[in-house]
Amino acid sequence: MDFSLSKSQIEIQKAASAFAKGEFDKDAGLKMEKEGRYPAETLQKACDLGFIGIHFPEQYLGAELGLFENCLISESLCRRDSTMGLALCLTGPGAECILRAGNTAQKEKYLPGVADGTLFTAIAFAETGQGFDLRGLKTTALKNGEGWVINGKKPLVLNGGTAGVYMVLCQTDPAADNPDPQMSLFAVDADAGGLSWKDAGRRIGCNMLSAADIFLDNVRVGPDSLVGDKGAGLALASACYKELHVLLAAQAVGIAQGAYDRALDYIRQREQFGKKIGAFHISWHKIADMATRIEYARTLVYRAAWAFDSGKLDYSLAAMAKMTAAQTALAVAYEAVQFFGGYGFTTEYEVEHFYRDAKFVDLFLGSANTQKELIAQMILGKMK
């Protein structure tokens, strides 16, 4: 085993940190978070420097690197500013579907836009009340000549309203008796007739990006909209979740580290009862716990990212990484807020949005309950 980053990985990490340090303005960030505005200029610069879509092939403006490098960037950006980091790293969650399963035409159509910051993408898989799996989705795509007609609704889609394309998971054989109903994945352009959206309002975190409920009302799409094979939708969605779980986990590690950095700075400066907060023994216990959690979460997340790039990541390790890192981010950010006391509760200091963003990452694409389902399915699922 070798736990050291390669030279080029260290360079990427340094570059991302330097970029965040140079471009993220604390006050502007706090304001944008509050107002739910998108940092468009910063995205442009991030794209110019190649941070977005670094895992894309070169012909689609990527650097042909791996999930590992993508994770290093995510971690560095979120460490500097949790909301800004999420905003920059989650412009293209649907792009992974295209990248991993799309055909050449689809890649050409969508990937360069994601990499140069002109296109936001969205995944619209889940629906209300499907429990832990996606088998019960009600959105249908029915064959109509060469193409398809899509009907349904998808609640609370991240980037809803701003995305140029939606990856929509649909039932394509709703009448089938098959206990594993046939699902397929479609890339539906935002300007497709019949697609509409309604802003979903502020969220618990990640407020620089938009979110909306998406309505698909007799949306007609051509055969070229099908991503991957007909009937492969569930597998593709799961694979996409798997990659995103690791990416979110890396973001969570960044959030945890950023909250920790701020807490450590604060308790080294701030005095209470005549001594630095950091000199209180309870601070020692808390800091030791926080640091330990960050170390084990980061190490696990790196392992998951490495496994993905080595072609051997299973659902269970991805889910473990997501659950562990998100819970670490939450616990660390919680204590950071507590160290700051009353100030920690105000939006003047950053720790409160690190805490909310940690909860966002914890819930987004499945809370711990969902992750446990995925893990146990791998271990015990065969038993039934």
Partner: protein
């Protein structure tokens, strides 16, 4: 056995109040959250219907009701899932200082207005650089002739913008012992030299007009001093039991509110095969654990309320409750969001507001770390 003796009158009061909340509060909460303040008119409505200062003596214009009415108000207000109309802070934290320590004339002057809602009160203790450390207070009060001149600033003041009357803690700059240097004063809105600072923007409590207050050569009449000079620290300590108890009580009611919502969500949300989430055993057990903790918390809280009503010194147990209940509220709110899953990402889910609002409970009225220090000391550790 019933630890607390609710009578028919209590129940009737609760029903009236619940109806009031449904009518006058809940429909407006979103609006107030956006405005970061509640209109003064709703305080007056609440006063007019008899829900403010229930515990203040009749002789001074209060309702003279027992402390259980305060508990009922805390419960029903918690169930409105907002914090702007901080009636409990007003009726059960601030006004009791006036009742206990105000001169006769002062009581007669202010308490009727506090009861009617014409006077909204706030307590100003915390300072920007002092945090939990009362001994580090820098706001000064110098008594000259029949007046007192106040200089300094306060922060994190609940009802700060709306307040018509502020109970202020300030230091005697000449006193040597920092624990025998603090006095309490009443400062009216409009007194020259008393200015509001910024309204604080926060992670939660968005309908609450939490603010900074500034005092610059602010002069008030000497009769507005509460109790003896330099005895403020003792008075604060004396009243902290009830303040911290109300924190624990509010946390307990929030926990119950959240558990009910989580149970209801899990019973009514079904998976694709019609199985409710509550029948998934892993989630079912979480609900059971949440209900159990809520039940344990309820018993602990009721016992403490009963002891408090008997006039017992339960300062140690109250500090325990303050951190135990507010910590549990964090855990419960987090678990509830997990049960909602992605649906809990959006603020349109009311439990997101609960989660945000509750985060301050382990911080204010003495952080939970301070509570543990106090319990440790009182336990001879």
């Amino acid at each position: 056995m019933d630890i607390l003796q609710y009578t028919a009158a209590h129940t009737q009061f609760r029903e009236r109040l619940r109806e009031f909340c449904q009518r006058e509060i809940i429909p407006y909460v979103d609006q107030w959250e956006a405005a970061h303040i509640v209109p003064k008119s709703v305080w007056k409505k609440m006063g007019a219907e008899g829900f403010l200062c229930t515990n203040a003596p009749v002789a001074y214009g209060g309702h003279g009701l027992d402390f259980l009415y305060s508990v009922i108000v805390a419960e029903e207000m918690t169930r409105t899932n907002h914090t702007g109309l901080a009636a409990t802070v007003h009726s059960d934290v601030v006004v009791p200082y006036i009742v206990s320590y105000g001169a006769e004339a002062v009581k007669k002057k202010y308490i009727p207005g506090c009861t009617s809602g014409d006077i909204i009160t706030a307590i100003a203790m915390t300072e920007p650089d002092a945090g939990s450390d009362v001994a580090a207070m820098t706001t000064t009060a110098v008594e000259v002739g029949g007046e007192v001149e106040i200089n300094g600033s306060k922060t994190f003041i609940t009802n700060g913008i709306n307040a018509d009357l502020v109970v202020l803690a300030a230091r005697d700059p000449d006193a040597e012992n920092p624990h025998q240097a603090v006095s309490l004063y009443l400062v009216e809105d409009g007194t020259p030299g008393f200015e509001r600072g910024r309204q604080l923007e926060k992670m939660g409590w968005n309908s609450q007009d939490t603010a900074e207050l500034f005092f610059n050569k602010c002069r008030i009449p000497l009769e507005n001093r509460l109790g003896e000079k330099n005895m403020g620290f003792v008075m604060l300590m004396e009243k902290l039991q009830q303040e911290r108890l109300m924190c624990a009580v509010s946390a307990q009611f929030a926990i119950e509110f959240i558990v009910e919502a989580a149970v209801s969500h899990c019973k009514t949300t079904t998976d694709s095969k019609g199985k409710p989430l509550s029948k998934y055993q892993g989630l079912n057990f979480q609900l059971v654990e949440m209900m159990t903790n809520a039940h344990v918390g309820r018993v602990f809280m009721e016992k403490l309320v009963a002891d408090h009503m008997e006039g017992l010194n339960v300062a140690r147990e109250t500090c325990m409750a303050k951190f135990w209940h507010t910590d549990l509220s964090q855990k419960t709110a987090g678990q509830a969001l997990d049960l909602f899953g992605e649906a809990a990402l959006a603020e349109r889910n009311p439990l997101v507001r609960s989660w945000r609002d509750l985060r301050v409970l382990p911080i204010f009225a003495g952080t939970n770390e301070i509570m543990k220090i106090v319990v440790g000391k009182m336990s001879g550790l």
